[in-house]
C-alpha cells in the first residue's frame, strides 16, 4: 500500500488561473477574428506613403490617429494586427478541422480494426513524421504559387499525425474496456459501437489535441509567411508583417515586436487553455 498524496490544492489554484488566462486570450482573439471588419480603425490595406513608420503610442512623436503606428507603406498597424488575428484564427481552426478529419479517421480505424489496417495506419504515421513539415510546405507552396486555399490544404495534409496517434491509442484503450466488450456481446454493429461507445469516450482527448494543433498551425503559418511562402501579400498575416518589417527592425524594433508579441500571446493562450483542458479531462495527449 502506498500513500501518494501531494499538496494538490495550491497547484490547482495556480493551474486554474492559468487556464482562465488562456481562455480569456483565446476569447479576445476569437472576438477580434469574427468582428475584425467592425473593429479596425482604418482600412488595413490603405497605404499612405506620407505617414510611413509612425511610432506607436508609448513613444515620443506618435500620431493619436494610429495607436500602434504605421508600417513601411504607411498602413495602420493596429488595423493590420486585428486583421492578422482573423487570418491566424481562420488558419488555425480550418487546418485543425482538415487535419482532425484525416487523423481521427485513420487513428480510430487503425485502433478499432487492428491487424493489417492498423499496420497501414502506423506506416502512414511513420511516413508522415519522417517528412520535414516546414520544408515540404514551403516546397508545395513555392512550386504551386501561394494562395490561401493551397496553404490551408497543405498544412491540413501535414499536421494530422498527432490526431492519428492519440485517436489510435485512446481507441485501443476504449476498445478493450468491459462495457465495449459487453456491447459486442449484446450484438451491436461495428458502426454503432464506433459512434456510440468509442467516439464519445475519446472526444475529450481529441479536443485537447485540437487546441494544440490550432496553436501549431498558427505558428507554422506565421513561419511560412515569414519566409515569403505562406499567406500572399498584401494580406496582413503576422508572420508576413514581421517579414516585411525585418529590414527596419534595427532602427525601429517595435515593428517586429508588435506582431511578434501578438503571435506569442495568442499561441501561449491556446496552449494554456489546452493544458487546462487536459488537466480537466485527466487526459494525456502526448504521444
Amino acid at each position: 500500500m502506498s500513500m501518494a498524496l501531494s499538496s494538490a490544492a495550491p497547484r490547482r489554484g495556480w493551474r486554474s488561473a492559468a487556464t482562465w488566462l488562456g481562455a480569456a486570450i483565446v476569447g479576445v482573439a476569437a472576438f477580434c477574428a469574427v468582428f475584425a471588419p467592425l473593429l479596425v480603425p482604418h482600412d488595413p490595406f490603405a497605404q499612405d506613403l506620407g505617414k510611413r513608420l509612425l511610432v506607436p503610442f508609448w513613444m515620443e512623436g506618435s500620431d493619436p490617429q494610429h495607436l500602434l503606428g504605421t508600417d513601411q507603406l504607411g498602413r495602420d498597424y493596429l488595423s493590420r494586427l486585428i486583421w492578422g488575428c482573423r487570418i491566424s484564427m481562420l488558419i488555425g481552426v480550418t487546418v485543425s478541422i482538415v487535419s482532425g478529419l484525416i487523423g481521427i479517421t485513420l487513428g480510430v480505424l487503425g485502433g478499432f480494426l487492428g491487424g493489417r489496417v492498423d499496420d497501414a495506419v502506423l506506416f502512414a504515421i511513420t511516413t508522415r513524421l519522417s517528412l520535414p513539415v516546414v520544408l515540404v510546405a514551403l516546397a508545395v507552396v513555392g512550386l504551386l504559387g501561394s494562395s490561401m486555399t493551397l496553404l490551408l490544404l497543405t498544412l491540413g495534409l501535414l499536421l494530422w499525425d498527432r490526431f492519428a496517434v492519440v485517436a489510435r491509442s485512446t481507441t485501443l484503450q476504449v476498445r478493450n474496456l468491459d462495457y465495449v466488450a459487453a456491447a459486442w456481446c449484446a450484438g451491436c454493429s461495428r458502426f454503432r459501437i464506433l459512434t456510440r461507445e468509442v467516439l464519445p469516450n475519446i472526444a475529450s482527448h481529441l479536443v485537447v489535441v485540437a487546441t494544440l494543433e490550432i496553436a501549431l498551425a498558427i505558428l507554422l503559418e506565421a513561419t511560412l509567411s515569414f519566409l515569403g511562402l505562406g499567406v500572399p501579400p498584401p494580406l496582413p498575416s503576422w508572420g508576413l508583417m514581421i517579414a516585411e518589417a525585418k529590414d527596419y527592425m534595427f532602427f525601429s524594433p517595435w515593428v517586429i515586436m508588435i506582431p511578434g508579441v501578438a503571435l506569442f500571446v495568442l499561441v501561449l493562450g491556446i496552449n494554456l487553455l489546452g493544458d487546462g483542458l487536459r488537466d480537466q479531462f485527466g487526459a494525456r495527449s502526448d504521444p
Binding site: 506506416f123 519522417s130 513555392g142 519566409l227 534595427f250 517586429i256 499561441v267 502526448d286
Partner: protein, 305 residues
C-alpha cells in the same frame, strides 16, 4: 532482437520508398516544369529544348523510375540552377546543417535535463512552477521571431556575436540557441514527467530503504529509467531540428542544406528540392532506428525480445 531489427529495417526502407514517391509527386504538382525552368522570357522552342534536355518529355512513370533507380545508387541527378551534381551540393552544405543541429541538440539537452530533473525532484515547489512556465513560454515562442530578437539584442545592442555567416564558430552560437529553444520545452517536460514517475516508483522506495545517498537515488536509479523515453525523443527532436533548420538558416544566412532548399524552391530547381526532402527523411528514419537500438541498450527488458 534480430527479427526486430530486420522488421525495423524493412519498415524503414518502405518509408523511404514512400517518401521518394511523395517527393517526386510533390515537385510535379505544379504542371509543366519545363516552362518554369526555361523562365518567363523563353520562346516555345526554348521550352521544347529544355523539355528534351532534362528528359521531361518522357512519361512520368519512366521519369520516376529513372530518378528512383539512380537515387538508390546515390545519384540524385543534376541541379538546373547550380549546374552541378545534387549529391555534391548537399554533401557540401550538410556539415553546416549538421553542426547547427547537433550543437542545438547538445544545448537543448544541457538545459532541459537538469531543469527537468530538478523540477521533478522539487515537484510542486516554486522552482517546478517556474520551469513549467518556461516550457510554456518556449512552446509559444515562434523561433524566427526569437532569432530576430536575439539578433537585435546580441548582435546590435550588445555587439557580442555576429548576426550572420559561418566564417568562425561564433556565427553558430545564436542560430544553435534558437534551434535548441524549439526542442527544450518537449525535452524538459518529458524529463520531468519521467523523473516524477520514476521517483514515485517502488524501486526508488527500495533504493531509499537501502539507505543510498540522494545523488545515487536520483542520478543512478531514477534517471536511468527516466532517460529511456528521453533518448527516443531526443533523436526525434534532432530529426525535427534538421528539418526545421531551414528557417534558422534563412534568418542567419547560414549556407546549409535548409538554405539550399530555400534557394532551390525559389528557383524551381526541383531535383534539389526533392532530394533534400528525401535526404532529410532518410536521416530522420535513421535517427529513429538508432533511438530504438539505444533503448534496447538502456532497457534490459527489451534485449531479450
Amino acid at each position: 532482437m534480430l527479427r526486430f531489427l530486420v522488421r525495423r529495417l524493412i519498415v524503414a526502407l518502405l518509408v523511404a520508398a514512400t517518401v521518394m514517391t511523395l517527393a517526386f509527386i510533390m515537385t510535379r504538382l505544379s504542371g509543366d516544369l519545363a516552362i518554369s525552368i526555361a523562365g518567363p522570357n523563353a520562346t516555345q522552342a526554348d521550352v521544347e529544348a529544355v523539355r528534351k534536355a532534362y528528359g521531361l518529355d518522357r512519361p512520368l512513370v519512366t521519369q520516376f523510375f529513372d530518378w528512383a533507380g539512380r537515387a538508390m545508387t546515390g545519384d540524385l541527378g543534376e541541379s538546373y540552377f547550380f549546374k552541378s551534381r545534387v549529391s555534391a551540393l548537399i554533401g557540401e552544405r550538410m556539415p553546416v546543417t549538421l553542426t547547427l543541429g547537433l550543437s542545438g541538440l547538445v544545448i537543448a539537452l544541457v538545459v532541459s535535463l537538469p531543469l527537468g530533473i530538478l523540477a521533478a525532484v522539487r515537484e510542486n515547489t516554486a522552482f517546478d512552477r517556474g520551469v513549467q512556465f518556461v516550457t510554456l513560454f518556449g512552446q509559444a515562442m515562434p523561433s524566427f521571431w526569437l532569432g530576430l530578437l536575439l539578433m537585435i539584442l546580441f548582435g546590435l545592442k550588445l555587439g557580442w556575436l555576429p548576426i550572420s555567416g559561418t566564417e568562425s564558430w561564433d556565427g553558430y552560437v545564436l542560430p544553435a540557441i534558437v534551434l535548441a529553444f524549439s526542442a527544450i520545452p518537449a525535452l524538459t517536460r518529458l524529463t520531468r514527467a519521467g523523473m516524477i514517475q520514476a521517483m514515485g516508483s517502488d524501486y526508488i522506495r527500495t533504493a531509499r530503504a537501502k539507505g543510498l545517498s540522494r545523488a545515487s537515488i536520483i542520478l543512478k536509479h531514477a534517471l536511468r529509467n527516466a532517460a529511456i523515453p528521453v533518448v527516443a525523443i531526443a533523436a526525434v527532436q534532432l530529426g525535427f531540428m534538421l528539418g526545421g533548420s531551414i528557417v534558422i538558416e534563412q534568418i542567419f544566412a547560414l549556407h546549409g542544406v535548409g538554405f539550399l532548399a530555400w534557394e532551390s524552391i525559389a528557383k524551381n530547381d526541383f531535383p534539389v528540392v526533392q532530394s533534400v526532402v528525401l535526404v532529410l527523411a532518410v536521416i530522420y528514419i535513421g535517427l529513429t532506428t538508432l533511438a530504438d537500438l539505444m533503448n534496447a541498450v538502456l532497457d534490459p527488458r527489451l534485449r531479450g525480445a
